[in-house]
């Protein structure tokens, strides 16, 4: 059992990050921390992809290096996904700046109360 877990430790960690991210996204009342949770969630997925590219004893995928090669494709995919993630974070933070300007707080439940009081 322990051995099985140890050999899959990277997968375990990446899925743990998914859990941590989801929890932060749902449970945290601070909007910026919600966005951080979203980032952690995405990072978990990025790491999952990178782990799948790993080949034991593999070298970088360059023709002069000896075989076997680590798979380069997941790295390329994740580069794209990281760019998407950065844009999402930028848009999210832009929205949060507007929300802060409107309500003067970043706390979700305080904002909720302010709307109900109106």
């Amino acid at each position: 059992m322990i051995e099985l877990l140890a050999s899959r430790i990277y997968y375990l960690v990446s899925f743990l990050l998914l859990g941590v991210g989801t929890y932060m996204l749902i449970a945290n009342e601070n909007l910026v921390k919600k966005v951080i949770g979203m980032n952690i969630f995405q990072t978990g997925i990025f790491l999952f992809f990178i782990v799948t590219a790993f080949v034991s004893g593999g070298s970088p995928p360059i023709l002069t290096a000896p075989e076997p090669y680590a798979s380069p494709l997941p790295h390329v995919l994740i580069l794209t996904a990281i760019v998407v993630g950065v844009s999402l974070t930028a848009v999210a933070l832009g929205l949060i700046v507007r929300i802060y300007g409107e309500y003067g707080t970043l706390n979700e439940s305080v904002i909720q109360r302010m709307i109900l009081d109106e």
Partner: protein
Amino acid sequence: MSELAVFPVVVPLFGSLAALLAGLARSETGWPVAVSTLFVQAGVAVVLAGRAFGDQPVRYVVGGFEAPFGIELVIDGLSATMAVLVAVVALGVLGYARVAGPRSNAFYATYLLLVAGLSGMSITGDVFNMYVFLEITGLAAYALVASGEGGRSARAALKYLLVGTIGASLFLLGIGFAYVATGTLNMADLSRQLAEVGYGSPLVQASFGLLVVGLFVKIALFPIHTWQPNAYAGAPDSVSGLISALVSTVAAYALIRLVFTVFTVEFLLANAFAQTVLVAAAAVSIVLGSVLAVTQQEIKRMLAYSSVSQFGLVVGAIAVANGTALTGAAIHLVGHAIMKGGLFLTSGLIADTTGARTVAEYEGLVERFPVGAGAYGVLALAMVGVPPAVGFVGKWYIALGAVEARSWPLVVVILVSTLLTLAYFARVIERMFFREPAGDAAGEGATPAPTLVTDGEGASEPPLVSAGMQATVLLAAVLAIVLGVAAFEYGQLLEPTIDRLLA
């Protein structure tokens, strides 16, 4: 000349850039740029559709990298339908947005970016490429929802962003599982290799589950629809018309594409559980979406919940997985886009003319604003499924497909759904046409009533209603009827495509 296949993505992308650059020279130049771009876009989409409805889909390999390695664009009847729908609806909503909508060039740049993302999702033949376009669509949609003024639209957009990102990330994780199982990302290649890996493999099953749940978030099915009413109600009227008509529709198209092109019907047959989950999600969505719609007071929120229930129907058709039901799904996707986009624009028009934004304020509307009330009535009845409107044809095919597949629980739910749809539209129609305006509501008729709602325009601006806005709304109402007549022909035209999907 299959190079034409890249233009549905490239044209709006360059148009978006042009709108931004034109804004540097002169402000409020975005609208003409967007209109000319979308005319070109619609032309390209129609020409492509003319070719795609043949025996073979149009294929184009981007950048000269051969198919399983490079990115391939595949346009069959269904993709072409979506591409034409996206171009036409976006063009139509522009007719409304010229006077009503946000007018900045940045708005039109984002608008065209959304069109590029949606067209890309429709025509791509590569799952990772689809993820990228899904995120482009998402980013543009978040920004468009936030283009309204005030805190409400910003909060709605942030919620949409957080939930939508989780959905898209699950989609990405599903792609990861499929990639681990097969080592390929091309849809046609994936479908072959997934069959070799075996449909019982946990990797393949997990991949299916993640992809489907990710798209459920984007389609806004019942338990994960929570972003959608806020986003539709918080956005400016022209934006809610656009995204309610297109974003969930193209996500539902993506679901059809993944379930039938990538995983194929054999996967559903091998995994009865997957089919059960689809049926259950559809049924729950249809019933609870309608129930929630009945309880709403604000018209735009009611329409949003109505979408939850209507997309339940489409997912039901996917679960049934036969030719009749899929034809129904395609017709209903197109019909719903026209009807729901039209209803959102009509409610925006009514709000700008009379200030009415809640069900109660619609009392006696026919006397104050006959055009709006008439269009709303026609579109609402089309949505309920009164023949010969397009809403009827779509539901008819889906119900017929469910009967053919002997999926009785779904048949019952689909028939009940018509009654439920009637339940929430009847109370609006009854108030509009058969009640005298309440005393105080009629007195304030000319000025916008002070509601909590903040829309795209600032409170200081007088409500502007242009001929373009009225024409767009009337066009949608006419289309909802005309398409119903044309739908049977379209169903036959789609037959080779559906046969290929189910092969």
